[in-house]
Symmetry: C2
Subunit: 301 residues, 2 copies
């Protein structure tokens, strides 16, 4: 959970709600109930946590502690595919030690958002028997804590990262080869996010190329990847996907994953239409269905 | 028709065969017989023209004149999506005045490769009643001869350009809006090529998002767009597409265009696997079919 201050060619937003948890949980909530783990400072609006509750999101795992909430300041130039970090204030994140309650420990579907891989592993240690674990990471951890990240990856079914991160993690500039290398690190499923171009899904069965929905305008790409992941995980949870299905029902396994990636692309396309979580807050399920249908028409030969 | 000298992260090729006509005609020849119009100098290998003849390409429209063949020197850095032009020697192109013989004048399918729009119009003036006209262009003409290019576009059914060119031609940084603006200039069908990401097709019926085939290595992206266009035009010619079908059989019209774009993506994916036209020269029809089938599996949800 974070405050973001963002500048894009379309405008500016100061100290708005951001953070992976916010984007992810709002996106996922269209498909499945969500329990979030996080930390905020005393400056965080309680009203927002209450709002999440109305959206099927259990926020009992959000610690409110003395100090300030994490704050990211970033900007995008004309090429909206890459954010430039201007400053990062970890604030309360510096001492974050995720503690899972009984309900969290029983979680079937676990998404480890982009934090210190040591904390990702610590969360995973506390979950009793997850059916499916996905995780995200970023350049900062790939470079800074490679061994810790590799420990996490060994226990993960799905890794969702962007193109540049895949190159960095694998040491390989070709995406097929990068995915093959990353799969030897643990996750059998790799999702490579490609911004406005969509995403690639690598599974034991093959490759799926998902096109992004072509929006008419991009106000702010922040959170696109997190809301992609939220819709993806919500979709697979709702569909009841488990890692065992890769063996017991490989066709259904593949089909659910592909549909979940499309759901992720559709969700991300809404996120970028406004700053912060504004578009997700006013998103209607009927809009999701309409755009998903439109995207399916656009990718069918 | 040209000589290219190219440097890419994968290597170097000096004074090799290049030019839109070479890539286009070899690609198109898998689908339909081709007649090419062009000009070369006395330094051009006659053996290559003879080779084209064996590949279903009629080269009687290639003028061989005193002087040197067009020569392009370019390089690519790690981002293989954009070429850097180091030098361009127009040579015999400076006085090129395309003259169509009787067979050319009867052509049903016309592709105006990327040359001076004044010459594109002159070619079109000589064709009696084309069923379908497509054209390509580039930044140099969009900036240098905008009015002449607009005259050409008024008489064209299909424009095939890349992302950056679409932005420049339309003055719009969003592809949906760019395509809408360009369609008011004449062509009812716009293909926007996106390098390793694929292509977008805009038709009166809607948008088609085509993913590129993800190759294991890229040696040289030169000619990818031209071979895309060659396979596309060959495919629509073989399928018998005409502009009237947009009204008389809109579903078939749309379906042929979409399949032609996929054929273009498949062809381009071979071209980039080697320097010059080397990969296209040794390409087998069975490889085309195999990769087309593979790509279809990769884009089917």
């Amino acid at each position: 959970m974070a405050f973001d201050s963002i500048q894009t060619p379309a405008g500016k937003a100061d100290q708005v709600l951001g953070g992976s948890v916010n984007y992810f949980s709002l996106a996922a909530s269209f498909y499945a109930p969500i329990k979030v783990i996080g930390i905020v400072g005393e400056d965080f609006p309680i009203a927002h946590l209450e709002y999440l509750t109305t959206r099927n999101v259990d926020v009992s795992g959000v610690q409110i502690v003395k100090g300030k909430t994490f704050h990211w300041v970033g900007s995008y130039d004309t090429n909206m595919n890459e954010a430039k970090t201007l400053s990062t204030a970890l604030n309360v994140f510096e001492t974050f030690d995720p503690k899972l309650n009984a309900a969290h420990q029983d979680a079937s579907y676990v998404f480890l958002a982009n934090i210190d891989p040591v904390l990702q592993t610590s969360v995973l240690d506390q979950v009793k028997s997850p059916k499916l674990v996905a995780c995200d990471s970023m350049n900062f951890w790939i470079t800074g804590k490679p061994e810790e990240l590799k420990k996490t990856l060994k226990r993960v079914d799905i890794l969702s990262i962007n193109e540049g991160e895949a190159f960095l993690l694998s040491g390989e500039k070709n995406l097929n080869k990068a995915a093959t290398i990353i799969r030897t690190m643990g996750p059998s499923i790799i999702i490579i996010k490609r911004g406005e171009y969509g995403a690639m899904l690598f599974t034991p069965k093959g490759t799926f190329l998902a096109s992004a929905f072509p929006v008419d305008f991009v106000k702010d790409p922040t959170g696109a990847g997190d809301s992609f992941a939220g819709a993806f995980m919500g979709y697979v949870a709702e569909a009841g996907l488990t890692r065992d299905m890769a063996q017991t029902d490989p066709d259904a396994f593949e089909s659910i994953l592909r549909r979940a990636v499309v759901a992720g692309c559709v969700m991300a396309s809404f996120t970028v239409e406004d700053f912060s979580i504004e578009r997700l807050k006013r998103l209607e399920a009927s809009e999701l269905v309409t755009r998903q249908t439109a995207l399916m028409k656009m990718i069918t030969v």
